[in-house]
């Protein structure tokens, strides 16, 4: 995948793909992130994708919809998805809206996430 098409840089650790999201997500970005991740899963044949959302300040219904959709697609490609580093205010907002991040394993931090992957 061309470098300029990437929304976020990714890191490969073993057969997992680490995706630290360091930008605030808006509708366009999260759609492009979906495309990027699916291409990288196919290209590198990773077993798991770990999304680190420590820097993300708002996750609304559309962003969570698109993320869950990505998780489902990844699942169909034989890849697990883990989300980690959800900030307390974001967690409270998602919980109050009744949004479940379907398809994701939830981890506290990277160490926990790596434990869930294997």
């Amino acid at each position: 995948m061309a470098f300029k098409d990437r929304v976020v840089p990714t890191i490969r650790i073993g057969d997992a793909l680490l995706v630290p999201i360091q930008i605030d997500l808006d509708d366009k970005t999260v759609e492009r992130l979906q495309t990027q991740l699916l291409e990288e899963i196919q290209e590198h044949r990773v077993r798991a994708v770990i999304l680190d959302v420590r820097m993300v300040e708002v996750i609304d219904s559309y962003i969570s919809y698109t993320l869950s959709e990505t998780a489902a697609m990844a699942h169909l490609m034989g890849c697990r998805t883990v989300i980690c580093g959800i900030q307390p205010p974001v967690a409270l907002t998602l919980a109050q809206m009744g949004i479940e991040l379907q398809g994701f394993l939830v981890a506290r931090d990277l160490e926990h996430a790596m434990g869930l992957v294997y």
């Binding site: 808006d26 509708d27 609304d60 559309y62 919809y65 205010p89 907002t93 809206m97």
Partner: protein, 150 residues
């Protein structure tokens, strides 16, 4: 209902601290940012700032998605009886909503990329939520959140 909608559609922009016109997808993020700033200025907790920003994000997206254009108006109210309050009005002259009760029920949507949790979610995040809409005229959503005592 009709009178209420007219009244809300004609509400003066001058009464608000911030008016964000929604015409492009990027405007959703701008509206969200402005809401966050005003809630911070009112001394809301970090969680409540995020809740207000998320609610505005949902309202702005609904405008962009269903009416294409519209506006988000936000104001701070210090003198409300329940304490400092943030008020948001989302107004558009789009297609309108056929049944307000139905859009407030979880899981109803006419859009393919949605689970129908936007508006019901907004209602749960805020302390007050009122919707006036008429097919062919437009939709106005008015929401409020007050600063918690502790």
């Amino acid at each position: 209902m009709d009178g209420k909608l007219r009244e809300l559609l004609d509400i003066s922009e001058n009464d608000f601290d911030v008016v964000v016109r929604i015409t492009r997808e990027e405007d959703i993020a701008i509206a969200r940012q402005m809401a966050k700033q005003l809630a911070q200025e009112l001394g809301f907790s970090l969680a409540d700032v995020t809740k207000v920003a998320t609610a505005v994000s949902e309202l702005a997206r609904n405008i962009y998605r269903y009416a294409q254009t519209g506006k988000i108006m936000i104001r701070k109210r210090l003198e409300e009886s329940g304490g400092p309050t943030i008020q948001v009005v989302a107004a558009d002259r789009g297609p309108g909503i056929e049944s307000v009760d139905r859009v407030l029920a979880r899981g109803y949507t006419t859009h393919e990329r949605s689970l129908g949790i936007g508006l019901p979610g907004v209602r749960r995040l805020m302390d007050f939520c009122e919707i006036a809409s008429k097919v062919g005229t437009g939709t106005v959503v008015r929401v409020e959140k007050r600063r918690r005592k502790f």
